[in-house]
């Protein structure tokens, strides 16, 4: 079911299978990271999830590869030899390269995110991180870029679920569903990234605008409330829990 590949045996990378799902379109990802072991792990993990991943070991190489290759997403470590991550991103942006960039950083300080985003990064993930989190964010970045040409639609549709961003109305199978403002934003974000895994931290960031660790299952509770309104009376569930990663809105019937 889904487009999710439940791997029977433990994968060769030692990656638990629950982390592995397939993304419809393969992405080309450039990993600019000086720690060879971490980079090798990422390259392998991305390849196992069906993407193409290259690796650059320092800032200068990374800069050259990012300029020449047509990558969907750049994963850039902040601290790199020869040219540090933020300068690299700044230079790329000055050169007109608008490939989405996800910054990886061992610095977890409060203002690091802001600095990273100001330098031209699109997302920020502090180390250590779970691969599922990184993968979900990278895929969202890649998708956002692919869709950027057409502009954001005013109505999101997944199967028989419809969300109108202008009138703030939600319909399923023709009947209106009344949502609280926060539930609306939650569904809006999930539907905007339909077909993609959205992690709990991503939801907290985009729906509540907080970047901290919420300790308990607060996000799960909100999603399950939303789910009870959206999916309860329908045969085909649209909000799916992706174990070990997060949530995904998807028309499960289409490919079942």
């Amino acid at each position: 079911m889904l487009c999710l590949r439940q791997v029977g045996q433990p994968s060769t990378s030692g990656l638990p299978s629950v982390f592995v799902w397939r993304y419809d379109a393969a992405m080309r990802i450039l990993i600019i990271e000086d720690d060879r072991e971490a980079a090798a792990y990422l390259v392998k993990a991305f390849r196992e999830t069906g993407h193409v991943a290259d690796h650059a070991a320092d800032g200068i190489d990374g800069y050259a590869m990012a300029r020449e290759g047509s990558y969907g997403v750049l994963v850039v470590d902040r601290m790199l030899p020869k040219l540090d991550g933020l300068s690299l991103i700044r230079s790329l942006r000055e050169q007109g390269v608008d490939t989405p960039v996800l910054i990886l950083s061992a610095l977890g300080q409060v203002d690091d995110r802001v600095k990273g985003l100001r330098a031209g990064g699109d997302d920020y993930l502090p180390k250590p991180y779970a691969f599922s989190e990184l993968l979900a964010r990278v895929e969202v970045l890649a998708r956002r870029r692919a869709a950027s040409g057409s502009g954001e639609p005013t109505v999101y549709r997944v199967a028989d679920l419809e969300l109108d961003r202008l009138s703030h109305r939600v319909n399923r199978n023709g009947s209106e569903i009344v949502l609280q403002p926060r539930e609306f934003r939650l569904l809006e974000y999930l539907m905007k990234n339909a077909g993609q895994v959205v992690t709990r931290t991503m939801l907290l960031e985009h729906v509540w605008d907080y970047h901290f660790d919420p300790q308990t299952n607060v996000i799960d509770v909100h999603v399950s409330r939303l789910r009870s309104k959206i999916d309860k009376c329908f045969e085909r569930p649209l909000i799916h829990t992706i174990r070990g990663a997060g949530y995904m809105v998807r028309d499960s019937g289409a490919k079942a």
């Binding site: 433990p10 203002d111 802001v114 985003l117 926060r182 970047h211 300790q215 607060v218 509770v221 399950s224």
Partner: protein
């Protein structure tokens, strides 16, 4: 030699030389001005005396003719300290007086009719400064005098003048005074300068020496403060404060790394034990898989603990201070309460929210959010009164006093015994009653650190029954804010801190 070279290079010594020069020039001009003025006064006096005599003598001549004038001139010329007189025929021959002859220059160049009573060489002035010979002196020594030659009716010529030896003496006195005063200024200035320079140099050298030992690694060293409150004291004081701060930061960093190393040992051991146990006990692939998933979960927890610890440590070290901005604590309180409302409902608990509007504080919105989330999380976890099926009653309320914003998270649970209240905000401290539930014992430490970063405090109070966590933050006064519009913007797009 090197001492002199050092002295020459020192700023104080150069300043001293500059001042010395200025003082010498000043003394020179002052004394010169005094001398010039004194001379002018003396000259004026001479001119008016001579003028009076001429007026008197010409009156005598008018009354009694040349004979009477000769008598008077003879008599006056003999008096001690007399002025200079010479009565001569129109041809210039001497008739009476104490001067040899009319000086040649004076005879040759008569004054004009409209000449004034001033001293000068030209025909405009009635008075001349001129050498003369005394008739009483046997030698031909010439003296200097200010004289006027007056032509009487009838062609007789009368010379009246005064010797200016006094003036020469005055000049001599002045010159000597100038010399001495210059010498005195020079000697005193050099001595004083040497003393001051020595003293200043000594203190600067002491400071250099102290800073050198500090740079060599002895961070406990401090510069001496003399207590006089002068510039050097202020400098030393500031440098000491700087050293103090550096020392604090160093100690903070050390403590952070020590604590983290220590604090991570427990969960790491747990992780290792889990893996070890799986290796020994698991037989089937499914068991192994479950064990692996368990270790991953455990390491995820480790990451969370690590992040929380790092954040607490950084907050305690004051590292986040530069990223603070003004924002509305009410928005954060409402947002976090709303975030947890669903959790409360899920667990059958009630969450009451009474948040006043507009609570401006200065700090970091994210951190305050995290702190409040921790407090709420605790309240929902531990806030249920003991007994089966009793739901937790949690309330979030705010209060605004003159200078504080108070955010209270209260529950009706068993609370925390008074003796434990100080302890629970320490890292990893979990009370016996809480051990059965998930958690790491870092939530309150983080909330405390956040409160401190904001210049406030976290107090744990008795809610009778239950616990009331009181987060106090300094209120930002509206008029003190730079741009109120910024605070309004803060709510719109709060993920970016404006600085």
């Amino acid at each position: 030699m090197s001492g002199i070279a050092k002295l020459w290079r020192s700023t104080a010594f150069r300043l001293l030389l500059a001042y010395l020069f200025i003082f010498i020039v000043f003394a020179f001009f002052t004394l010169g001005y005094v001398a010039w003025n004194a001379r002018r006064v003396l000259d004026d006096q001479i001119v008016s005396t001579v003028e009076a005599e001429i007026t008197g003598l010409s009156e005598q001549y008018r009354l009694g003719g040349i004979r009477r004038l000769v008598n008077i001139v003879e008599r006056r010329a003999r008096q001690p300290g007399a002025s200079l007189y010479l009565l001569a025929t129109p041809a210039g021959e001497r008739i009476a007086g104490n001067v040899d002859e009319i000086p040649a220059g004076l005879a040759a160049q008569p004054s004009r009719v409209d000449a004034k009573p001033c001293i000068g060489r030209g025909p405009d002035c009635l008075y001349r400064e001129s050498p003369y010979g005394r008739s009483s002196d046997p030698d031909t020594v010439t003296h200097q005098a200010i004289v006027r030659v007056f032509t009487l009716p009838g062609g007789f010529r009368l010379l009246v003048g005064r010797d200016v030896e006094e003036r020469a003496r005055l000049r001599e006195v002045m010159r000597r005074a100038l010399g001495w005063s210059l010498l005195l200024v020079g000697v005193l200035g050099l001595l004083g300068g040497w003393f001051v320079t020595r003293r200043v140099l000594k203190r600067v050298d002491d400071m250099t020496e102290t800073t050198r030992t500090i740079m060599a690694g002895d961070l406990s060293g401090r510069l001496a403060v003399s207590g006089s409150g002068d510039e050097f004291d202020r400098l030393a004081h500031n440098l000491n404060a700087m050293l103090e701060r550096i020392g604090e930061l160093m100690a903070g960093m050390k403590e952070v790394s020590d604590n983290i190393a220590h604090d991570l040992k427990t969960p790491l051991t747990r992780l290792r034990n889990k893996a070890d146990e799986a290796l020994r006990a698991a037989r089937t692939p499914d068991e192994l898989r479950a064990a692996l998933e368990g270790t991953i979960e455990e390491s995820d927890n480790l990451i969370r603990i690590f992040n929380a610890l790092l954040m607490i440590a950084r907050l305690e070290a004051g590292n986040a201070r530069e990223t603070l901005s003004d924002f509305d604590a009410a928005e954060v309180a409402r947002g976090v309460a709303e975030l947890y409302e669903a959790v409360a409902e899920e667990g059958g608990a009630t969450l009451e929210v009474a948040v006043e509007p507009d609570l401006p504080v200065h700090g970091n919105r994210e951190l305050l959010g995290q702190a409040l989330a921790n407090l709420l999380d605790n309240a929902l976890k531990y806030g249920a009164a003991t007994g089966p099926g009793v739901a937790a009653q949690v309330s979030v309320s705010t209060k605004k006093t003159d200078d504080r914003v108070v955010i209270m998270v209260a529950d009706r649970g068993p609370g925390i015994p008074e003796r434990d209240r100080g302890r629970v905000t320490e890292r990893f401290v979990r009370l016996e009653s809480a051990r059965s539930r998930p958690g790491f014992g870092l939530g309150l430490s983080l909330a405390t650190a956040v409160a401190r970063l904001h210049g406030g405090a976290l107090r744990l109070e008795d809610n009778g029954p239950g616990l009331c966590a009181v987060l106090e933050l300094p209120l930002v006064r509206r008029e003190a804010r730079e741009a109120p519009a910024e605070a309004a913007l803060q709510g719109v797009e709060p993920s970016f801190q404006r600085t």
